[in-house]
Assembly symmetry: C2
Amino acid sequence: MNSRRASPPPAGKSPAASASPWRARRRDREVKREAVIRAAARAFNRKGYHNTSLDDIAAALEVSKPTVYYYVTNKEHLLFQCFLAGVEPIRAAFREVQDQQAPARERLNAVLRHYGEAVASEFGWCMVRAEDQDLSPAMSRHIKTLKSEIDQGIRRLIRDGVQDGSIEPCDPKMTAFALAGALNWIAHWYREDQSLTGAEIAAAFVTIFEGGLRPRSASQVATRAPLRRRARISR
Amino acid sequence: MNSRRASPPPAGKSPAASASPWRARRRDREVKREAVIRAAARAFNRKGYHNTSLDDIAAALEVSKPTVYYYVTNKEHLLFQCFLAGVEPIRAAFREVQDQQAPARERLNAVLRHYGEAVASEFGWCMVRAEDQDLSPAMSRHIKTLKSEIDQGIRRLIRDGVQDGSIEPCDPKMTAFALAGALNWIAHWYREDQSLTGAEIAAAFVTIFEGGLRPRSASQVATRAPLRRRARISR
DNA sequence: TAGAATACCTACTCATGAGTATGATTGAGG
DNA sequence: CCTCAATCATACTCATGAGTAGGTATTCTA
């Protein structure tokens, strides 16, 4: 039943791994390498890092485990690569914004939108959930550095916004934690609820961050009838 | 070297597990059971669920593995118990608030404050990170139900707040996700940065949620000099 | 077209860790 | 004091999964 490579081109029968680069041996190392990373990301996303074996990933690619090891040195390195693929767009967002002249709040919003999309991407889970606990000290340090850079970038934009008056005065550290946390958490529920695109979610979140819960309309606030509807804990 | 129980009362030498109920065999099953749960929570919190073996937990309690199994049926059940210990205060917060007459935003804030404290507690990690992927279908469903109840409770408070005018009109679902996400994420960084108490963090977050980033002072907004400081990605 | 490099597979090793079988020890009640 | 149940330890089993040894087939290059 493992006669995959028997018939040279399996015709239009696209196998599970859509457009797998593994039909006939070609020398496209990089393409295959990236396919391995993506397959790993999908698996991690679905089952979690520890519940995914390299056999699973190999099976998803219709390939044997040593083949995976031929393209990747470790399970740990595999996670790390997924992490990198996840953060890169965020770093790009910072670079893009850094030449703009807009007020800092707008620049921050742009970064947060890209951030949200990245978290909702197929590498989002890996980026957000790459735990230091699962990695060697060296990797752990590396990941922490990258995460810290992003955190510091957000704090900086917040500070700048407070300076230029586009952001309400606040504690940059706590605010950065709140914003990033809300966005990071997307990775936890987006899997199950894909009713919106990543971009739509990011936009909605930015709107919420900007406005806050307290009404801005200077009209009657909390003077209407209490409307005592229960805040029951059941559905 | 394992002559722990040799000398009847080891005097004031309080062993690693502070105030361990395991000196001399007593019939306080519940106390010991809870001690196991707490030890597990601490271990999970430090090293993650999958990187914690039951031998680790047993060692932390200066006890053997079968002893742990004597008080707990499974590793999975152990995680579940930690989860329950984590959510309970949140459920209590909902119950407490449900008889109050305050505007919904204030009731929501009260819940969120308790929520934040719970996440920063020693069971916070377990509550937030109890993954369906690590659990049997039955447990998974149970946990999902409890999580969903909390989510629905928050949404309800938001809807009520929009109704009674105490909350700016918004999408309850997205807003609930954003708020809960920001708070859940506390579990990820609080371990490393305990410069504030859980209550302080929760209070700070509620302030951020309420106000939003856009300045409320009707004065000149974003009209000041741009102050072009770089939003560099490095520290 | 030979040989070298590349790509891939079968079939292992080996460590770890969940869970258990079995038996010893201790406290409580009669 | 004696018995029984509760409590705990030693020393296993057994499955899983990371990583590898060693060989085979294919493609490229000269």
